[in-house]
């Protein structure tokens, strides 16, 4: 097992009666990139602030490399932080911004020279050393912020929505670049984002957060293919949730009466109510009637180039989201009758919602 670098133990943070983080336990291992993913207000940024030392926890402990740093102020934690707004010092040149942390550490002049040069080369900004931050594009400012946070070789890199302020194309470019840099220096990284695509594409593990707690902590593929709760299933990617009742260990009857065969789902007991999620890309259009085939009527069509998004209503008023890869096998229009095939192994059983939410 890899070494634990950052540990949160029972961390809680209240802001004037509002609980932003509620008894959080989290371990981040050496060299991994862990994302804190969730909608705004889920406590992900507060969690980052607890680790950085910008706010003290109301309860709980923070450990870095096994040392309790809960009562240590931010400037003594030696972490690297990249802020959403970059927070570059506008009165200092790119060079001085990057050198800031080294000067605070009283690094010898020649060493500063060498390290700043290397850091600027790493983010391909060697030619911009004398510029002021305001003279750079958003993507360049972002890279300066990264260089500034990495130059003194911090133990942990904290990234607070670092890509959110960039436009789409640049964001995708920077995502790749960020991953490459993180891999090449092997720094333990915690990445806060509300963008599921970013989290899925970048992370070794994702902690999906909601209401100040971690809803699920897993590898990206696990999170996507086996979401633990309805919230995770709906927040990560698209999915349709079906409600029904188990009639046998591999049989579920939906509210509208349709019977489905369900494979690879553990612990179905006859008679219990279950919630099943299915990803829209797993549902197929079918010709013949057969096992797990359902008849429905198209209620919505959204053409998206690479695929078409269908909304199909089946018995009992239940609506299903279906992605049909383009070119579509048939002309699709609202009102049209279609037959869907739901593969037996495509279902995800959702855990019960925790009480009190």
């Amino acid at each position: 097992m890899a070494r634990a670098v950052v540990e949160l133990a029972g961390c809680t943070r209240d802001y004037g009666g509002i609980r932003a983080v509620a008894g959080l336990d989290l371990v981040v291992y050496e060299g991994e990139l862990l994302s804190l993913l969730g909608p705004s207000g889920c406590g992900k940024t507060t969690t980052l602030n607890l680790i950085a030392g910008f706010v003290p926890p109301t309860a709980g402990r923070v450990r870095i490399d096994g040392q309790d740093v809960t009562d240590r102020p931010a400037h003594q934690r030696g972490l690297g932080v990249v802020f959403q707004s970059y927070a570059l010092f506008p009165h200092l040149s790119v060079w001085e911004n990057v050198a800031f942390g080294l000067r605070e550490r009283r690094t010898p002049r020649a060493e500063i020279e060498r390290r700043v040069r290397a850091a600027l080369a790493l983010v391909r900004l060697d030619t911009r050393a004398e510029h002021r931050p305001a003279q750079l594009s958003g993507g360049m400012q972002q890279r300066v912020a990264l260089a500034r946070a990495l130059v003194y070789e911090p133990r942990v890199l904290l990234l607070d929505e670092p890509l959110a302020a960039l436009d789409k194309k640049l964001r995708e470019e920077m995502r790749g670049e960020l991953r490459e840099i993180q891999r090449s220096i092997g720094i333990t990284t915690i990445f806060v984002t509300h963008d599921q695509a970013e989290a899925l594409g970048l992370s070794d593990r994702i902690a999906v957060m909601r209401g100040g707690r971690i809803e699920q902590l897993d590898a990206p593929r696990e999170i996507y293919e086996r979401p633990a709760t309805r919230f995770v299933a709906e927040f990560i990617g698209a999915s349709t949730v079906l409600r029904g009742r188990a009639t046998a260990p591999d049989r579920v009857a939906l509210a509208g009466g349709e019977a489905l065969r369900v494979l690879g789902v553990n612990g179905l007991r006859a008679g219990e109510a279950v919630e099943l999620a299915i990803r829209p890309e797993r549902i197929r259009l079918a010709r013949e009637m057969g096992e797990n085939a359902l008849d429905g009527r198209v209620t919505g069509v959204v053409y998206q180039g690479v695929q078409t998004e269908l909304t199909v209503e089946i018995g009992g008023g239940q609506r299903l989201l279906v992605f049909v890869a383009e070119p579509a096998p048939a002309a699709l229009a609202p009102g049209q009758a279609v037959r869907l095939h739901l593969p037996a192994d495509a279902f995800i059983r959702l855990g019960p919602e925790e009480a009190g939410r």
Partner: protein
């Protein structure tokens, strides 16, 4: 018609200055307008009159002392106002800005009574204290605007990079507040140098500052000396503002907007 109105307004705004400047070059001892000739004798009188020399020195000490105290206090107050709890901040803002609305006579009387009770009226300390109170609203206002424009994450960034709170203040906050603080300094100097009403109450012959000395002079004599001194005052103030705007990057607070 409109042009005429504008000209009239312009004349009305500048007339006092024009009259004073013109009279100061008058060769005769009467405050008459327009002047009957051109002479610098009243300027010589200003420079050689002992009480003006003493008052100028007093002005310098009082203004320097008051500004030296008001700048750090006002800056700290502005930081507190911008970052403290909003309700407490509005209360403090009222207290700090109150000298703007309290009549000078009332404030002067207050300082006189307190100064007398403490037996401090012979020294310049009461004058300095009064000037601190009077310039603080200007310092706080000006600094407050700058502090509010400051991104608080910059200090967090400095902390994350290893800077102690004091180092973060020195290396990040203070340099970024500099233009606002220079404007504050300028306001403070001008307000303090021109302060008259409150100072009149708490000055003695030995501690009085220039505006008070000028008033005393006018009460006793009616020659253009005072016009000459006023002209010097006007020129001095303009010079300070112009130089500051020119060489200290104030972001065009005074004369023009960039």
């Amino acid at each position: 018609m409109l042009r005429l109105a504008v000209l009239a307004l312009l004349a009305f705004m500048t007339l006092p200055t024009v009259v004073v400047v013109a009279v100061s070059f008058n060769p005769t001892a009467i405050l008459s307008f327009p002047p009957t000739g051109l002479s610098l004798r009243w300027y010589v009188n200003v420079v050689t009159y002992p009480q003006f020399q003493r008052a100028a020195w007093n002005s310098l000490l009082v203004t320097a002392g008051a500004v030296a105290l008001a700048m750090p206090i006002g800056t700290a107050a502005a930081l507190g106002l911008a970052r403290g709890r909003p309700r407490a901040a509005s209360l403090w803002a009222t207290v700090l800005l109150s000298p703007l609305v309290v009549p000078g006579v009332a404030a002067g009387l207050g300082f006189l009574i307190v100064g007398a009770a403490l037996g401090l009226l012979r020294s310049r300390s009461v004058l300095i204290a009064a000037h601190v109170a009077l310039v603080l609203p200007f310092v706080v206002r000006s600094a407050w605007v700058s502090v509010r424009n400051l991104d608080p994450t910059l200090e967090r960034a400095a902390a994350s990079l290893g800077a102690t709170p004091w180092r973060a203040f020195r290396r990040v906050t203070l340099p970024l507040l500099r233009p606002g603080l220079l404007a504050a300094l300028l306001f403070a100097v001008i307000v303090s140098l021109n302060e008259f009403v409150v100072s009149l109450f708490i000055s003695t012959r030995l501690t009085e500052i220039l505006p008070v000395a000028m008033f005393t002079y006018v009460v006793n004599y009616t020659d253009p000396t005072i016009a000459a001194l006023s002209t010097l005052f006007i020129v001095g103030t303009f010079l300070i503002v112009w130089l500051a705007d020119r060489f200290l990057d104030l972001g065009g607070v005074f004369l023009h907007h960039r």
